[in-house]
Amino acid sequence: MAAPTSDKLILPRYRRDPEGTHPPLNSPGYRSTQLRYPKQPLVLLPQMLTEVTGPLLGPGRVGELDNDLTRQHAEEPQGQRILVHGRLLDGDGRGIPNSLVEIWQANAGGRYRHIGDNWPAPLDPNFDGVGRTITDSEGRYEFTTIKPGAYPWKNHDNAWRPAHIHFSVFGQAFTQRLVTQMYFPDDPLFFQDPIFNSIPDEKARQRMISRFDYSRTTDHWALAFEFDIVVRGRDQSVFENEEDEEE
């Protein structure tokens, strides 16, 4: 990056996302938001050093089998074996290399290995539902897992979550931190799910749905889904001083 000067720092700047990209914190259809969303307006935080940097978490965080959720136990888990792959990209389509990707999910019957999940689908002794990996030099990642099941919850009458995999990514800066959920194409449960439908912009909402990827299926082994995760893009270099920018 540019050299420091006596009284100016040249920092990257991360573009704010268009209105409607992210869900409003107050989303009454998802009842759990109601006692948890801040009621006071958010205060604009200028992007300074702490915000344009972030933890670079890579090697050492991930074990050899952490990206294969079907090989973490003595035997294979129940369910449809799938490959989930894609790229971690910034808003300009550049792959983000050497960056941590974490996932967690329900088993094939829609049950999480969590003490609080007690709906009557069996736990699978061969499935933890947790994976981690590091993106390669082009931002690519892949996991082998099983397709998670849908499951009921208490949000509304006869409420079911569409099948999904939770994704957590860091990108390269605090401003790029993102936790999302990956969905599967043509899920019939979308219409009644307030979490999926919390995204105001229809096109943005569709970006959470993975693409069935026949080209990456493996004959007699696994189906494949492609899911790119896009975090905020950055401007190449911007003077930190607003007045300078306008001159």
């Binding site: 100016k8 992210h22 948890r36 935080l45 300074m48 050093l49």
Partner: protein, 181 residues
């Protein structure tokens, strides 16, 4: 083209906690402090299924990151992560950050950026921890000064025997100031 945010849901505890998550620095590190607090909801009840993440400069105000224009200083992780317990509490062991350059030659008071994730939060909420020991620097801090005065106190940790207390009130009385980054 950004991918939308979604809630971590109720079961983040199976996937996100790390054994060394709360340890920004290892046990026995000289000068280490504990930052502890509780996450509460709009009725003042503890939030037992949240996760708190912290990001900060080292004691010299530097970052182990290539975009620090003064040059990268390797060695200090700067990152902490702690899921909340059934009583809503979290804890992070770290070193106090140094002052960090701000805009136009100004200096920012020492601070820690915080993200809170939880079921019922469709996106993370972001806040900052400041420290009561730095009254003068806090008074001159541009970010603190951009916050309405009567709410500023929610961003300043309280001194404890082995560090600081920083509670996060998601909603309601004395609601924590959250930032749009």
């Amino acid at each position: 083209m950004t991918t939308p945010s979604q809630t971590v849901g109720p079961y983040l505890a199976i996937g996100l906690p790390w054994e060394d998550g709360p340890a920004v620095v290892p046990e026995g590190t000289e000068g280490a402090v504990w930052i502890r607090g509780t996450v509460t909801d709009g009725e003042g009840n503890p939030v037992p299924d949240a996760m708190v993440e912290t990001w900060q400069a080292d004691p010299q105000g530097r970052f182990d990151h290539p975009d620090d224009p003064r040059g990268r200083v390797p060695g200090f992780r700067g990152f902490g992560r702690c899921p909340t317990q059934p009583d809503g509490s979290y804890e992070i062991r770290t070193l106090l950050p140094g002052a960090v350059p701000g805009e136009g030659g100004a200096v920012q008071a020492p601070h820690i950026d915080v993200s809170v994730f939880a079921r019922g939060l469709l996106n993370r909420v972001v806040t900052r921890i400041y420290f009561p020991d730095n009254a003068e620097a806090n008074a001159a801090d541009a970010v603190l000064n951009s916050v309405p005065q009567e709410r500023r106190g929610t961003l300043i940790a309280a001194k404890t025997a082995d560090g600081y207390r920083f509670d996060v009130r998601l909603q309601g009385e004395a609601e924590t100031v959250f930032f749009d980054v």
